[in-house]
Each structure stands twice: as structure tokens, then as C-alpha cells.
């Protein structure tokens, strides 16, 4: 018989005849691959879109000058660059800032203030970069508008309003108050050339005349098409930043690259960094690393559960066909032949499941992106995330991982198939008896794995990723899976010897229990699969619940101001939206206001890693502040005792950087590096980047940014917050567009953000549970199939069809209950690892443990009900047992 014929007869026919098992396994693998891929694509898209915007805006620029202290540099820096022009260096200043467009869904937009009279050489490069055909017609193809001649021809039939417009180039922007807008933005706002664009900039609404719509290419494609291009002077006016820019882009010939860098570092007196544009993307990558690593690790859970399903399926396949294996061995098939046959079966599962998973993952990637977009935009960087970018390499990686894990999970059963003698293989139940005999060995192996896991908890993170923490979690799962046969054996024996439990279970329950106990291998794998899924659910629930209660307590103790003010733009999703300093003065004069704490923050780099520098009014905080310090000291007392060069740092920053009280850190300022002594470490859960907090007076001395990120308002005793709020709004009307929340509203908002952050986590572990339930259904189908003889006997002995169904459903409930109990135990261990090792190493937060018993009980009940539902198909199969036919087959 040729290899293919044997493969067809032995593998394909069996896959078809056992179609339920095939479908369950393929679905399980597909779910795991799908989740992993969707999250991977979403993660990559989030970063990829940011990188793309950086690339599109910088074009062919190979060097960039950016502020190292605060958010802006003075455009006087351009004078330093003038001599470089003679050396063939092209450069152009840029003021880039975010705003919120008014109308549509109030989309976040990126405003690019460009030098419309930038050197032709620089502009020419941009043209080539985007579209050569347009280079002759448009001076700057980054700004290729849809009404340029080259486009005009193409658009004549479809868009007359665009076609009859005059050519628009960047030089047209020189007129103050004019703007080019991205095509997507124009569509969202239903704006055309000649229309008026309203932007919520900081705490103001400003209006611009739209003089053209940018095609979705070059700069017009940046920021997902939600882009506004204006002249630099217009931008400076919009953002009230006269003479300020955010960066200078340079195109430096390779030959003088090093010299130019040296020239810049020697001659620029302002606090700047000179680096490639891609360095910005690397910074963002560092910022989001922990979040993305941990999300990917969570997405991996469904794949791990899927491995148990594959192991289960392959074990069932091999156990069920031991007789056939024995015959093949007797007829001369060697071990490798047997291994190849089962390996080809595993490959089929891996390839089919992974293909299906890749297809589903692509379809779900947009939903995954939506799920994480809010968190990324809130905590890390502002960038509209539309739809996922499908990278073929990522698809290939997900497919490869799916197939590889399938093969890995299949190795133990395949080894089992090849390691038995032909005579033994033909004996029924020999696999299960091997499991019974190796229970102690498995117990010992489990102990060793647990020990290794324990040791792994002492490992330090690698490149910021808590590799050893996850290894410990994985060890806890595998160790418990190895304990499972022994634990089940003990539990089943105890139940069997207990007459009360036996009478409670009834005859159907007893039969179920005995059947499960009689197949310890299969039962253990099904229970272990459920255990993995449930343990992940429980551990995440404990972690999230603990984290939530910790944050609730922190919010209650820390957010003590009566009113909180932020700009309208920030309230609408622009993290950069700020408040004019005069607003604080106006608020201070409102009757009933006792004190005002203006807070400002900006991102900076300390020792090559991003961190937030924040400044508050220490004079106010001395009296009203409720900073919770890690060492238990009173926050207001510490602030009162702090010197001008002291700072307090957040716990995250302290833990992740290993910086403690008494250490000195240096932050870049306008005047160079400012050494600050760490006076205290405080609990903070608002950002995992970490905070360095200094007094506002110190901030103003060292940074040029005079605006405020937010204002906390403390009221006089007996002052009515609602009355003061209305008064504040009335006084600010016409001057400052702000959102004022009272204390309760801010707390509610904080918890809404928290819950949104973890919503994707819930979705991920729900899918892991679904895969685990497939494993239960798989095990029940196998048990039912193998119990046909016993079911037939029972039918002869007077069992009704309903009783047989009840037997299988009882098995489902027993598996669900065992899985739940084991899952809760392992879940608790995993939650300790998540809270004390993985979270600590990834984010550095202290989380007080809190067990959500109500959730655990409800979800366990739900899992048992779901297991019961998974047992319906096998139960119906059992109910259909044809006793006469089966006994006759003897």
C-alpha cells in the first residue's frame, strides 16, 4: 500500500467518520490562532500607524531636531542651521499639534504648521517621495490636493466639485487662516474647498478656510487622513505659540551626516535632541511595550488551552485506534510509520485550524483594534486608529505558531503510540492502565515543574518583559495538569467510598463517576483543559478586581479637590489640549474657591526611557494635597518639607527604574540637565510611564510651557460645588472652553477608563474558556464513544434512554465541577503571580489583593452550566445507543 493510500485510509477516512471530533479540534485551534492574530494585528497597526505618520510627515528627512525639555523649541534655532544650507543640507521647521475638529464625530486631527516657503530642494524631495507624476504640477506632493491637474483628469467624471477647482499648492497656504485638510477628514465633516473648518484647540474654538482637500497620499495620508495643514504662522497663532516650533526636519547628505550632527550639538544652545525621525517611533514603542507584551501574552492563553484540546484529540485518536495500530505493527509497520501517520493527522488539524484562525483573525482584527484603541489613546499616544493593517508576515507567523503548537501538543500522544508493543497496543484499556501506573511519576514531575516555577518568580524582567513571571505562571498550569490524574484519583476514590455522596449522585451519577475514573487519562486532560481556561479567568478576575478596588481606594483618598477643570479639546480626546494660564487666575477669584492647583505635564526621556514630568502648586498641596506615600508618611507633610530641588516620584517610576528615596535623578530642562533629589515615592495608577513631580515654580524656571493640563479647585467649607461650577463657567464664557467635573464625576470617569482598559481582557479569557469547553465536549464525545458497550449493557439491564443521557450529562457536570475547583485553586496561585510578579515587573504597581467571591461563584456555576451544554450532543449520542446492534457485534 502506498504511503498516500495508507494516509487516506488511516487518517482521512477517520477524520471524516469522526467529523465531530475533527470539527471541534479545528475550531479550537482556529479560535486560539484567531485571537492571537487579531491582537497581534491590532498591536502592530497601532504602532505601525504612528510610525507611518512619522514617516509621511518627515518624508525623506534623515535627521530631526526636537525639544528635549518641554514640548516646543524656539524657531530661533533656524539661525543656527543657516550655514548648513550652503553645505547642501535642506531643512524645514514644523509645528505639529493635535486639536479636535468640530462636527461629525468630533475627530481628533493633527495640525501641521509648515513653512510654505521651504527650500525647493527640500520640497522636491517630498514630491518624489509621494508621487512623481504630480511633481511638475505641485510644488509639494506631500500636499497633493485632489484638484491638482494630474488628479483633475481622473476625477472629472466622478467629482465635479473637485475637478473644477483651481490648482492648490502649499504656497497657497501663505494666506493667514487657510488650511488644506485630509480627504478622510473632509468626508467625515462633509467639507469641501471653500468651506470653513472649526477646530477645538486647547480651550478655544478657531476657524480656518479650507482651500483644498489633500489626497490620501503623502502628508494627506498621515494621521489616518485626519490631518490639517496650515502655514507655520497660522499654526503658531492657532496654538498661541508665537515663535515656537515642535521640530526641524533635515535632509542631510550622507557624506557630511556626522559633521552636521556634531555641528548641531555644538552650536544649538536650546534644549534639543538631534536624532532620526524613527527615534520618535522607538520611544512610542518603549512606552507601549509593557501594555502590548502583556496583551499578547493574554492572547496566547487561548492557544495554550488549544494545546490541551489537541493533546486530548490526539490521545483519543490513538487510544481509540490502538487495535489498528497493533495490527499495523504486527503487519510490519515500524514506529516511524505509525508516528508519521499520526503526525500527518496532527498536521491536518494544525493547518486546517490555523488557516481558519488566520481568516477569522483578519476579520476580527478591526474589533480588536477598536478594543485597544481607547486604552492606547488614553495612556500612550494620540493617533486615530481606523482599521487594521494586514501584514502578510504576521499572518504567516500566526499560522506557523498554530501549526507548531499543534505539533508540540501532539508529540506526547504520538510518542505513546509508538512506544507500545504490538500485543499491548491491541489490548483494550492498556493506555489508561499506563496512566494509572504512571500517576506517581506524573505527580513527581508536577512537583518538579512547580519547583522550577517557584524559582522563576525570582527572575528579573528581560527587556521590560516579565518573561520569568510568565514562565512561573506556565509552570503552575503545567504542574497542576500533571497533578490532575493523582488528584482526581484521590477525589473519585473518596466520593466512591462515601455513601451519602453516592446516594446523592444516584445511579447515573455513580456510573458517570466510575466511567470517568476508569479513563483517568482522558478525564485528566479534559479537567486540565478546563482548569487552564478557568484558572486564567479566575486569576484575571482576582487581578482586575484587586486592581480596581485598589484604584477605587486610591481615587477616593487622592482626588480630594471639589472641581476639576480641563480644556474642551482634552475632554474630547486630545491629550495635548491645555488650558490658558489666565483661566486659573479667573477661577481663583470665583467666590467660594479656597485654592487652585494648576497641574501641567509633559513627556520627557530620563536615561533613555520615557517618563512624565508633572508640576503642581506645592503651596496648595501643602494644605490640601492628599498624596499617598508608599512609606506611609503623610503627603502634605512631605511636600511642606521639600526643597526647591526635591521631587516626588510615582511608585511605577521607582519600581521600574530602581530609583528610591534619597537618589538623584536628572531631567532635561531648557537649561540643561536638572538634578533632582527624590524626597518621596507616591502611589499612582494614572500612567504606567511614571511621574516625576516638581513644584510649579521650579517648572516655570526650567520649561517654557506656561499653559496648564488641568486645574484642581478646592472650595471653601460650605461652598456649593454646583453653584461654583456654574459661576466658573459663566466667568470663563467667551474666553476659555473648558469642561468642569465635580469630584464624583471625575471618579466615575477614572473608573470608566479603568473598565474600558480591561474590557479586552474579559473578551480574551471568555474565548479561552470557549476553547476549554470544546475540550470538554471532545472528551465527552470520546468517552461516550468508548462507553457504547457499557451503555448497551445498561440498556439490557433496564436503563432508559433518558438515564443514559443523564449519565453523560452527569459526566459533563463532574468534569465542569472538577475543572472549576482546580481552576479556582490554580487561578488563585496565578493571580498572586500576576499581581506580585508580572504586574510588578511590567508596570510597577502595588495592588492590594481582593478576592471577588461573587464573581468566582457565579462564573463557576456558569462554567458548569456551559459544560452541561457541551454534554448535550454526546448525551444525545449516548441516548441513541442501539443495545442490540452493539451486543450482536460480539
Amino acid at each position: 500500500m502506498s504511503a498516500f493510500r495508507l494516509f487516506y485510509a488511516f487518517v482521512i477516512r477517520d477524520l471524516i467518520s469522526s467529523w465531530r471530533r475533527t470539527a471541534i479540534t479545528v475550531t479550537g485551534i482556529a479560535l486560539g490562532v484567531c485571537v492571537f492574530l487579531a491582537i497581534s494585528l491590532a498591536n502592530e497597526t497601532a504602532l505601525g500607524e504612528f510610525k507611518e505618520t512619522v514617516d509621511l510627515v518627515s518624508g525623506k528627512a534623515n535627521l530631526e531636531i526636537r525639544p528635549s525639555a518641554g514640548n516646543y523649541i524656539d524657531q530661533s534655532v533656524l539661525a543656527t542651521l543657516a550655514p548648513l544650507g550652503r553645505e547642501g543640507v535642506a531643512y524645514t521647521p514644523l509645528l505639529q499639534a493635535n486639536a479636535v475638529a468640530v462636527g461629525g464625530d468630533n475627530p481628533l486631527v493633527q495640525v501641521n504648521g509648515i513653512d510654505t516657503l521651504a527650500p525647493a530642494e527640500f520640497v522636491q524631495t517630498k514630491t518624489e517621495n509621494s508621487d512623481k507624476e504630480e511633481s511638475s504640477a505641485s510644488k509639494d506632493a506631500r500636499l497633493s490636493t485632489s484638484d491638482q491637474p494630474a488628479e483633475k483628469k481622473a476625477n472629472e467624471s466622478s467629482n465635479s466639485s473637485k475637478a473644477d477647482s483651481k490648482s492648490t499648492t502649499s504656497s497657497s497656504l501663505i494666506e493667514f487662516g487657510t488650511a488644506l485638510i485630509g480627504e478622510k477628514l473632509a468626508e467625515d465633516l462633509k467639507l469641501e474647498k471653500g468651506g470653513e473648518l472649526a477646530l477645538s484647540v486647547n480651550d478655544k474654538i478657531v476657524k480656518l478656510n479650507v482651500i483644498g482637500v489633500l489626497k490620501s497620499k503623502g502628508l494627506g495620508k498621515s494621521f489616518n487622513g485626519q490631518v490639517v495643514v496650515v502655514d507655520l504662522v497660522t499654526a503658531q497663532d492657532l496654538f498661541e505659540l508665537p515663535g515656537k516650533i515642535t521640530q526641524v526636519e533635515l535632509i542631510v547628505p550622507e557624506a557630511i551626516y556626522a559633521d552636521v550632527q556634531e555641528h548641531l550639538s555644538k552650536n544649538i544652545t536650546q534644549a534639543v535632541t538631534v536624532d532620526t525621525p524613527s527615534a520618535r517611533a522607538r520611544t512610542v514603542e518603549k512606552m507601549t511595550r509593557s501594555f502590548q507584551y502583556n496583551l499578547t501574552a493574554l492572547a496566547f492563553i487561548a492557544l495554550i488551552v488549544g494545546m490541551f484540546l489537541i493533546y486530548n484529540t490526539m490521545t483519543i485518536s490513538i487510544v481509540r485506534r490502538r487495535e489498528e495500530i497493533g495490527i499495523l505493527r504486527t503487519l510490519g509497520a515500524n514506529k516511524w510509520k505509525i508516528a508519521t501517520l499520526f503526525l500527518s493527522e496532527a498536521l491536518f488539524f494544525g493547518i486546517a485550524g490555523s488557516l481558519l484562525g488566520v481568516a477569522a483573525g483578519v476579520m476580527l482584527s478591526d474589533s480588536a483594534l477598536t478594543a485597544i484603541a481607547g486604552t492606547i489613546e488614553h495612556f500612550y499616544f494620540s493617533h486615530p486608529l481606523g482599521s487594521s493593517t494586514i501584514d502578510p508576515m504576521t499572518l504567516l507567523k500566526a499560522f506557523g505558531i498554530g501549526v507548531a503548537l499543534t505539533i508540540i501538543a501532539s508529540i506526547p500522544p504520538i510518542f505513546e503510540a509508538t512506544s507500545v508493543a504490538p500485543a499491548e497496543a491491541a489490548r483494550k484499556g492498556s493506555y489508561e492502565s499506563r496512566i494509572v501506573h504512571s500517576t506517581r511519576g506524573l505527580l513527581l514531575a508536577g512537583g518538579v515543574v512547580y519547583l522550577l516555577g517557584g524559582l522563576a518568580t525570582f527572575g528579573k524582567p528581560i527587556a521590560g518583559f516579565p518573561f520569568f513571571g510568565y514562565a512561573a505562571a506556565f509552570a503552575a498550569i503545567i504542574g497542576t495538569a500533571l497533578f490532575t490524574p493523582f488528584a482526581l484519583n484521590i477525589a473519585f476514590s473518596a466520593v466512591n467510598q462515601n455513601k451519602t455522596i453516592k446516594s446523592l449522585l444516584g445511579v447515573e451519577g455513580t456510573i458517570s463517576l466510575r466511567a470517568l475514573g476508569g479513563a483517568p487519562g482522558r478525564t485528566a486532560v479534559a479537567v486540565a483543559s478546563l482548569m487552564v481556561g478557568i484558572s486564567m479567568m479566575i486569576s484575571l478576575a482576582i487581578m482586575i478586581s484587586s486592581f480596581r478596588s485598589t484604584v477605587v481606594a486610591w481615587v477616593e483618598q487622592t482626588l480630594k479637590a471639589d472641581l476639576y477643570i480641563q480644556s474642551q479639546s482634552r475632554a474630547e480626546g486630545n491629550r495635548e489640549g491645555k488650558i490658558d494660564l489666565r483661566t486659573a487666575d479667573i477661577i481663583r477669584d470665583v467666590p467660594g474657591v479656597a485654592a487652585v492647583d494648576g497641574f501641567v505635564e509633559h513627556r520627557t526621556m530620563v536615561n533613555g526611557e520615557p517618563v512624565l514630568v508633572g508640576a503642581g502648586e506645592f503651596d496648595v498641596l501643602k494644605k490640601y494635597g492628599r498624596l499617598r506615600l508608599v512609606n506611609g508618611q503623610k503627603g502634605s507633610a512631605l511636600i511642606a518639607a521639600m526643597g526647591a530641588d526635591d521631587c516626588v516620584i510615582s511608585e511605577t517610576f521607582s519600581v521600574r527604574r530602581g530609583i528610591n528615596i534619597g537618589d538623584t535623578i536628572e531631567i532635561p530642562t531648557l537649561h540643561g540637565l536638572l538634578p533632582l533629589k527624590v524626597a518621596g515615592v507616591y502611589y499612582d495608577y494614572s500612567s504606567d510611564l511614571g511621574y516625576i513631580i516638581i513644584d510649579r515654580k521650579q517648572y516655570l524656571k526650567n520649561f517654557s510651557d506656561t499653559k496648564l493640563t488641568s486645574i484642581a479647585v478646592f472650595l471653601m467649607p460650605k461652598a456649593d460645588a454646583e453653584v461654583v461650577r456654574k459661576d466658573c463657567l459663566a466667568r470663563l464664557k467667551g474666553n476659555s472652553l473648558v469642561l468642569i467635573r465635580n469630584n464624583q464625576e471625575l471618579r466615575t470617569e477614572a473608573m470608566r477608563v479603568f473598565d474600558r482598559t480591561f474590557s479586552v481582557t474579559y473578551a480574551l479569557h471568555t474565548i479561552a474558556i470557549a476553547v476549554a469547553l470544546l475540550s470538554v465536549m471532545n472528551a465527552l464525545l470520546a468517552l461516550t464513544h468508548e462507553s457504547r458497550r457499557e451503555f448497551a449493557i445498561l440498556r439490557y439491564l433496564g436503563a432508559t434512554r433518558a438515564q443514559l443521557r443523564k449519565v453523560v450529562l452527569s459526566q459533563a457536570v463532574i468534569l465542569g465541577a472538577c475543572g472549576s475547583v482546580a481552576g479556582i485553586c490554580v487561578g488563585y496561585v496565578l493571580s498572586l503571580l500576576l499581581v506580585n510578579v508580572i504586574n510588578r515587573q511590567s508596570f510597577g504597581w502595588t495592588i492590594q489583593m481582593m478576592i471577588p467571591w461573587d464573581f468566582i461563584l457565579q462564573s463557576s456555576a456558569l462554567v458548569i452550566v456551559a459544560a452541561l451544554a457541551a454534554g448535550i450532543i454526546p448525551a444525545n449520542e449516548a441516548g441513541r445507543t442501539k443495545a442490540a446492534e452493539f451486543i450482536r457485534s460480539e
Binding site: V507, G517, E790, L794, Y796, L797, G798, A799, R801
Partner: protein, 229 residues
């Protein structure tokens, strides 16, 4: 024979397995009296087991009538047939078919527990039956710890725990050596005599068939002879 003595009556019963296009039983008519011991002989595939399944209310005929203990059973639904099996019929198989994960005592008690009968009195009866089959010391053994003969004796005890009126035995000595086979037949005969138990037994063994009161011969699904021993 007086009609009141008849426990089971088959009238022109036929059974065809359409999937395999086999007429397993064709126009079989027999009456079995209460307490009568009937043996069926015939070559493999002649329809003995199918006939036993029809008599034992496991299967339904395609045509003909089966009356069991005064009740026409061939049109009854599955529930009703199961109830009749659970109350009035016991089975013994060639392969013993004990439940491997149940002890001897538990195996014997299964029919009682399935039918929610009076368990306490049944336990007493189970012990008596175990004593009768000579296995009282093996009550807590599992099937894998028993010999073939012992397993068949447990199977007989299990078949009789619910005090059936009919024992259906399909090749009960087929998997046993001569000595054990004789012992089992002796046991069956004793129960037949002591409990006025009707027995219908399929067998290939001429010696076994001679234990019965009457011998039926089957060939190709047809009952070809009926002789009293």
C-alpha cells in the same frame, strides 16, 4: 397447553436489517410457558441472537405479534419496553458484560438502582444470590479480579436481582471451559427450578441444549424444529 401458563408468545414474527439486507428472523411463532427452559440452537448468523433480542424486549419486530405476560409488546414505545426489561427480564451474555468499574455487589445492584426499586430488600437478596452462586466472599471484588466462571456467576446473579420472570441467556457458556460451563448450566437449571423462572438460552453446545426442557432449531432466520427433551 393452558393459555394462562404462557409467559411469552410470538406469532409470525419477522425482523429484517434493512441496512445489511438481512432477514434475520422470518415468520417465527413460538410459545414459552412460565418456568419453561427453552434452548435455541443453530449455526452462526441463523438469527438466534435477534430472536433473543425480540423476546427480551430489546428490539421490535417488523411484523408479527409478541405477547409478554399477557401484554402485546411489539407496538410499545421504548420507555415501556425498558420498563418490561427492568421488571420482568434478566439477561446473561457470552462475554459476561459486567461493568468493569463496578464491584461485584455494585454490578448486581445496578438493575435495582436503575429502576429505583426497593434497594434495602434488594441488598438482602443480592447477598442471598451471591451466596447461591458461591461468591459471597467476592462481593467487593472488581470484574478484573475474577475468573471467567466467576464473572458469569456474577452476571447470573445480576440478571436475577430484580426477580424477573424470564431469563434470556445468549451463549452463557461460550467463553468458558467445560467444567465452568457445566457449573453455570447447573446454576441456571437450579434457578429455573427454584424460582419457576422461564429461560430461553441460545447455544452452540449440544450438551448445554440438553439441559433445557425444549430445544428449538433455527436456520436462516426460520424456526425449523421444536423438540422436547
Amino acid at each position: 397447553m393452558p393459555e394462562s401458563d404462557i409467559l411469552i408468545s410470538l406469532d409470525k414474527v419477522s425482523k429484517c436489517y434493512k441496512a445489511h439486507n438481512i432477514d434475520a428472523v422470518r415468520d417465527v411463532s413460538i410459545d414459552i410457558r412460565a418456568g419453561e427452559f427453552v434452548a435455541i440452537m443453530g449455526p452462526s448468523g441463523c438469527g438466534k441472537s435477534t430472536l433473543l433480542n425480540l423476546i427480551g424486549a430489546i428490539d421490535r419486530p417488523d411484523s408479527g405479534t409478541i405477547v409478554f405476560d399477557g401484554q402485546t409488546v411489539n407496538q410499545l414505545d421504548d420507555e415501556a419496553l425498558t420498563r418490561i426489561r427492568g421488571e420482568k427480564i434478566g439477561f446473561v451474555f457470552q462475554s459476561f458484560n459486567l461493568l468493569p468499574t463496578f464491584s461485584v455487589m455494585e454490578n448486581i445492584m445496578v438493575p435495582i438502582e436503575l429502576n429505583k426499586s426497593k434497594i434495602q430488600s434488594a441488598e438482602k437478596r443480592a447477598k442471598e444470590l451471591l451466596q447461591k452462586v458461591g461468591l459471597e466472599s467476592r462481593a467487593h471484588f472488581f470484574p478484573s479480579q475474577l475468573s471467567g466462571g466467576e464473572m458469569q456467576r456474577v452476571a447470573i446473579a445480576r440478571a436475577l436481582i430484580h426477580e424477573p420472570r424470564l431469563l434470556v441467556a445468549d451463549e452463557p457458556t461460550g467463553n468458558l471451559d467445560t467444567q465452568n460451563g457445566e457449573n453455570i448450566l447447573q446454576l441456571i437449571k437450579e434457578f429455573n427450578h427454584d424460582f419457576k423462572l422461564a429461560i430461553i438460552m441460545a447455544t452452540h453446545s449440544k450438551e448445554a441444549s440438553q439441559t433445557a426442557d425444549r430445544l428449538l432449531q433455527m436456520r436462516d432466520g426460520i424456526l425449523v424444529s421444536s423438540e422436547s427433551n
